[in-house]
Symmetry: C2
Subunit: 135 residues, 2 copies
DNA sequence: TAACATTATGTAATAATATAACATTAATAT
DNA sequence: ATATTAATGTTATATTATTACATAATGTTA
């Protein structure tokens, strides 16, 4: 049997935290998440970080490394947790996941001169979004 | 007169911290830097972070975002503080700056479908270095 | 030079991000 | 049923980074 797209049933904490991130229009930071889910019985940072770790691992969310923040994946439950690219507006901090076949092919095939084999990459572009360019 | 490569004269703190990072075989973290320069009269985190900020700004060092660590630029005093690419070994944590004309051209010219104009990017590849592959 | 502006420094306190350690419970596999 | 693995709850602590404020050094201009 070929390796299929495994459906991960989220646990209660994972689901609560995913739902929150998923409906957020912007990347969320761990302690902001914590603050928002305390009414639902999640009290400690570690509970948040554990859920975040798992969600990142299964590709439901991604971490924006330069911002220490998390966004939901909208590439129809991302197969590409290991190949991520984002655009980040340096004024309004809007973050968008880039899904470009050309880009991902180029990067997946990229070989450096040391012949290192890559299994994963993360790319963050910075600039001004349309809205902020017009201001 | 054309825009030339500006030589930045480093201040005392900046020089001390740059020298330390420059001779380190691996990326250094801020508090490890602090520990190492205390004998030279740099006592507080803020002194380190201020020097790091400046050194990053002028392209003498780069921050490895996924590791919260800093490495010296070895692209002959990098013009490309705004266009960085690294390979990171997930076992030994060896980090190498990638300098590939093809890659940087490709990324500099990349346009997403929203037509966002990028002024900067950071790319981190993950995998196993040669040494770790053989183990 | 004097006045002003800009950049860097020193120091203390604190904020923000993330993990260690340990006990317990739930879910899965044999 | 039992063993194993994964998830949870809780407390404490480690790590990373910034705010606020006072002072000193440097660069610019008149
Ligand atoms: Zn995605
Ligand atoms: Zn914007
Ligand atoms: Zn460089
Ligand atoms: Zn290695």
């Amino acid at each position: 049997m070929s390796k299929m797209h495994k459906e991960h049933t989220l646990t209660k904490n994972q689901q609560i935290i995913f739902d929150l991130i998923d409906k957020s229009p912007e990347p969320m930071k761990a302690y902001s998440i914590l603050f928002n889910v305390q009414k639902k019985g999640i009290n400690a940072p570690l509970q948040v970080y554990r859920a975040l770790d798992k969600l990142v691992e299964i590709g439901k969310i991604h971490k924006i490394e330069s911002r220490n923040a998390f966004i939901a994946c909208h590439n129809s439950s991302c197969q590409v947790a290991k190949a991520t690219a984002f655009s980040i507006c340096e004024i309004c901090e809007k973050v968008t996941e880039i899904s470009s076949t050309g880009l991902s092919k180029y990067l997946a095939n990229f070989k450096d001169k040391d012949g290192m084999k890559y299994s994963k990459y993360n790319l963050e572009f910075f600039g001004l979004c349309k809205k902020c360019t017009l201001k």
